[in-house]
Amino acid sequence: MNLLDTLLRCVGTLVAFLVLPLVVGQTEHKVMAHMQGRLGPMYAGGFHGWAQLVADGVKFVQKENVVPAGADRRVFQLAPAVALLPYLLVLLVIPVGPDGMVGQVVDAGIFFVLAVMGIGVLGSLMAGWASANKFSLLGALRTAAQLMSYELPMLLAAASVAMAAGTVSLPGIVDAFHWWWVPWQLIGAFVFFTAGLAELQRPPFDMPVADSEIIFGAFTEYTGLRFALFLLSEYAGIVVLCGLTTVLFLGGWHGPFEDDLGWLWTLVKTFALAFVVLWLRVTYPRLREDQLMRFAWTVLIPLALAQLALTGIIKVAIS
């Protein structure tokens, strides 16, 4: 693999990282609007407001950047990058299609993904602390507690798939996939997806940014481009979560005509899941903070442990 090829793949990942979240965001605008009987943005770009988020990006770049007087300047300014970059790195290793249609194969696969995604917590904590705002700090603590609580079921559910496939490499897992894995790993898929949703702080798990209680959590003091980067990291997170769920639980590129259209299957499944993320957001109200924590520890983790036991027993029985 020469340098040019690697460079191209990296740039491709960056482009995907910038485009796919915008697509998800625009879909959210429209889906949410229609689910509420509205039309959503209709003007930017001409056709049904397709360029709304591009226009938003242009606007954000021109916005003033306010750092509160009491804030810790450097940490405050660094936080959005810390929150954003892990998702970029993770996107590199998610396989899209068979035969090397992936940014880069990393042997540690899921383990790499989960470890790197865990760094994002630091961004929120830094943002919340450096803002010198009690609401921000409260939001940061909630974010951190939530991310840590839900990271665990994600790890356990991912481990269940790794057990089934006997590898932690993401293309290796998709290669080993059979259709009956879907029912076999159903509980794990539910746990993984739900925990991922909570980790992204999407409704109904958006207590850390509950606007009616703590304004916008850790991001209260952010303006302009830095705020936009936090939002971008949220939508990139949706893409990564849905891509990972597709790869781990839904068989990635497997489907009819997988030789030619494998990448399309991955994209279709990813966007179907992204639609579910948006759908859940529109449908359900926010969970209370204690319900949120209890749900992770008393529902998802026992379920994930049960899935681990099930996977282990069946795997040993069939081998």
Binding site: V31, A33, H34, M35, R38, L39, M42, W279
Partner: protein, 193 residues
């Protein structure tokens, strides 16, 4: 609520169904809204009807109607009579930054000088410019729609009902008189025969 999670599924179904339905959004600047009659857009003034009785200004809860007037003496038509005085309107202005669109002024006006106009696009860039003088209020008169037709099932207006009652009474009396006359005529004929 038998199966656990059925409530959650129901919620999902509701949002999905709404998404499939037609939206209710009106694309306002492109498509003008279809306003119902009696829309409270802005208050128009029919200056000719105003007698400067000041009822509207006094009843306004926000005190947003400003009226200036002076008295004018009309020369008496008849040399024996006293000269008549009449109020002449100098200024009639409504401050729409204060107005809360309660419509009390329209209700209390005894001479039908104030009307609701459906015109709602009268935004200004400065709040002080929202005090509109009588010329502007008069212009809005042209946008006042004709009063909507009465509901066919509604109760009859009092005046018509009274007139009808009187007419019915007259008609009944006339019919009774006619009947009496006819009876008398037949009795006469009978007496003759």
């Amino acid at each position: 609520m038998g199966i656990p999670g059925s409530g959650l599924a129901k919620g999902l179904a509701v949002t999905m169904r709404t998404m499939m339905r037609k939206t209710v959004t009106a694309q306002y600047p492109d498509v003008q809204p279809d306003l119902p009659p009696r829309t409270r857009g802005v208050i128009a003034l029919l200056e000719e009807n105003c007698t400067v009785c000041m009822l509207c200004a006094r009843e306004c809860p926000d005190w947003c109607i400003y009226i200036d007037s002076h008295k004018e003496t009309l020369p008496a038509a008849d040399p024996n009579a006293r000269a008549r005085t009449r109020n002449v309107l100098d200024r009639f202005a409504i401050d729409f930054s204060l107005c809360m669109y309660c419509g009390i002024c329209v209700e209390v006006c005894p001479f039908d000088a104030l009307f609701w106009s459906p015109e709602f696009e009268y935004a200004e860039t400065d709040i002080r410019e929202l005090t509109h003088e009588r010329e502007r209020l008069r212009e809005w008169m042209w946008t006042v729609p004709p009063p909507p037709a009465h509901d066919p099932a509604a109760e009859e207006p009092k005046e018509i009902a009274m007139a009808r009652k009187a007419a019915d009474k007259l008609a009944a009396a006339a019919a009774a008189a006619a009947a009496a006359a006819a009876e008398a005529a037949t009795a006469e004929e009978g007496g003759e025969s």
